[in-house]
Symmetry: C2
């Protein structure tokens, strides 16, 4: 067994979950009666397109099976065999179209596949070993395709399963973007660079200019492809402003940066005053600190599940910008609230052990991505930084425990203690 | 004697020049009678400021002596002892003010010194060993402070003396720019970067944004300071569009790129149809090819001298962008016209000899600049590129001579041959 397989067999990655009820699923297939009803409606509506999946799950494309697998507590079941099919689908299916995706400040594309599959494409913009310039603010940093890929793996290795699967792919910018796009605003930005490479820059707020081209070599370009979530019309989402959002100003500090007791207020403010929302946020802070993502201004949840649900960790392109430095302020939610889920803490401790060292597990996990054949997705200094930062997280928890009671939020049954490797 | 001193003692760097007549000087001091007349005029004009230099040259600041030394055939006399004083002045005098300089597309400042001296400041924007991205066009490239400095030295080593002296200086962005500027548009762009450095970006067309800051460490910044030419009201200049100007488009080619016989037309077009203008242009092309400057869209002359004068080689910030590649198209004027000044050719041959190797002479010349104490102004790969490109220039001339008569424009007296090291 590989180290990653061994890790995923550990009880901490196989915790018993309450049986899912009907309303714990985000989507469900219609009953035959419902389906017939809809069909009647659609027949009377000339504009609608009828998608005729059979009721047989086998005929569902991987992206649809992924959507049908989203539950209240996680975005996917790590053991679902469909995940491998989904990433294979993203990595190999023919690209039928590519248009610019609105929203956000940097260039990204929405690509479409056969069987109505779609993915969010982010292009490679800098070499693997380039570090973000120390004089750039977090809000000026490039988005990185490998950060999107590595974030998915890290989130899965941490046992969260809250990031939609992302896969790397080497595409041909000419045949797979330029020749298939219907997006005039995108296609008119294509050009051949002095080095003879095919480049484009699109239209967006930042870095969309001929001074910041995205270039093939001469056609080949590394990209990340992230699985799309169900359409907002089917599964509306709510966007929450993070209480630890940064100021996005080069001079102003945010409230939490000036007030060490900031968490006292947050703890009393809905939805953070009950349930798991606060520890969910702290899980997210741990993930972000490990990958040094300072850009977590919002997070989302599925409206269907109300406040009792997991948090989506979307949009991780600004992670992994610097390996030589850590950013302690990302841990502020943990340090200021002194609270952490027990299952998270135990998994973090597990990943600090030599036999499950985070960097080793991540290296192995990332090796599953097709782009690893081109170049390792994270350079060794980035992998080492993960171990260093993990030690910092554990030290922060220890420091909390030295000063406070009630640091650990126990989400595990007492009788599991021995099995989980803890003394009772 | 050093290699550079030896070079400058060679007859090719000490060619006899016709005695300068009164109208061969750009400026001259007024006679006492004229001066008195002006003083009367100025007294009757309340707004004018009277600058009371005495008639005694000893009291003139170095920048004024430089202005008074400009002649029809060169910008300065290399042997003029004032040059060392001028560069010392630029490198050490107190900076009294700094404002953004209009014109051009990138950030540059006009700094002022005691005694009404001024200089054009270009800041360091990239590390010495950074090469311009191969996908960037020449018109998107950063300007480099070290290119401005190195261009001055190269032009002098080539025996042209057509670039105003440029010197490097380590300044304090806080005390020498921020605290002394009266330029509101400049001062409001100052900020402290995440790394704690003092940065600014100014207001201009390209690269003037928080994503492209100019930063001290934390205050210290390398800059180039170029001597200003006499004010346009005293010595108006004419700007000439280069016949070999590039298209400044990412798709279009210029005429000269499509027509190998382009020079036939140029040769018949005034002012290139007589005098030395064509070989002057080719001198400039040789300089630009050696330093890989693709941005020579215009050149200037002093109006006072009409068409019988040297060409100013101003604005060299985009030179020395890449050392690993040469740009043959810069040599188009030489290759298409097959014409070169004899004195230039002989100096180029001299600089290809091991005892006067261009890279060695340049290394020595650049070592005179104060910034060499911080880091060599050109990295070794850039110096080697000079030798490689010089060989290319000489090969181009040889290839012309193999195919054509009348390649060499003889600007030297026949009887000098032996002394110049050529067989009679």
């Amino acid at each position: 067994l590989s180290m990653l397989e061994e890790l995923f067999r550990h009880p901490l990655y196989n915790l018993p979950r309450p049986k899912l009820q009907e309303d714990d699923w985000l989507l469900r297939l219609k009953t035959d009666a419902e389906a017939e009803e809809t069909e009647q409606e659609e027949k009377s509506n000339r504009d609608s397109v009828t998608i005729t999946w059979t009721r047989d799950e086998e005929t569902h494309p991987p992206w649809l099976r992924f959507h049908l697998g989203i539950s209240r507590w996680e975005l996917y079941d790590r053991k679902d065999l469909n995940l491998a099919q989904l990433t294979h689908y993203l990595a190999t299916q023919r690209i039928l179209g590519a248009v610019q995706k609105k929203g956000g400040t940097q260039l990204k594309l929405l690509v479409s596949f056969p069987n109505y599959g779609q993915a969010l494409l982010k292009p490679m913009r800098q070499s693997r070993d380039a570090e973000t310039d120390e004089n750039l603010f977090y809000f000026s940093d490039f988005e990185r395709h490998n950060a999107e890929i590595a974030a998915f793996h890290l989130d899965r290795v941490l046992g969260f399963n809250r990031i939609p699967p992302v896969v790397g792919r080497l595409i041909n910018v000419t045949t797979q973007i330029r020749e298939v796009t219907t997006d005039e605003r995108l296609s008119r930005t294509f050009f051949t660079s002095p080095a003879g490479n095919v480049c484009f820059y699109g239209k967006c707020e930042y870095y969309c200019s001929v001074e910041h081209p995205v270039c093939g070599r001469p056609h080949a370009l590394e990209v990340s492809l992230a699985t799309m979530l169900p359409d907002l019309s089917l599964a509306p989402r709510r966007s929450w402003r993070s209480p630890w959002r940064r100021s996005y100003s080069r001079t102003k500090l945010a409230h939490w940066e000036k007030d060490a007791a900031y968490c006292d207020t947050v703890k009393e403010t809905p939805p953070y005053n009950r349930g798991t929302r606060l520890v969910d946020l702290i899980d997210m802070a741990v993930l972000d600190f490990l990958m040094s993502n300072m850009d977590r201004h919002h997070y989302e949840t599925f409206e269907e599940f109300g406040n009792e649900t997991f948090l989506l960790h979307l949009d991780n392109g600004r992670a992994f910008g610097r390996h030589s430095q850590d950013e302690p302020s990302i841990l502020a939610p943990l340090v200021q609230c002194c609270r952490i889920r027990r299952s998270t803490l135990l998994r973090l401790r597990l990943l600090s052990r030599p036999d499950f060292r985070l960097s080793d597990v991540m290296r192995e996990s990332l090796a599953q991505d097709p782009l690893t054949a081109v170049a390792p997705l994270l350079s060794e200094p980035h992998l080492s930084a993960l171990d260093r930062r993990l030690a910092t997280v554990l030290a922060a928890v220890q420091s909390c425990q030295d000063r406070n009671e009630d640091v650990v939020y126990n989400d595990l049954d007492e009788h599991d203690d021995q099995q989980l490797g803890e003394n009772p």
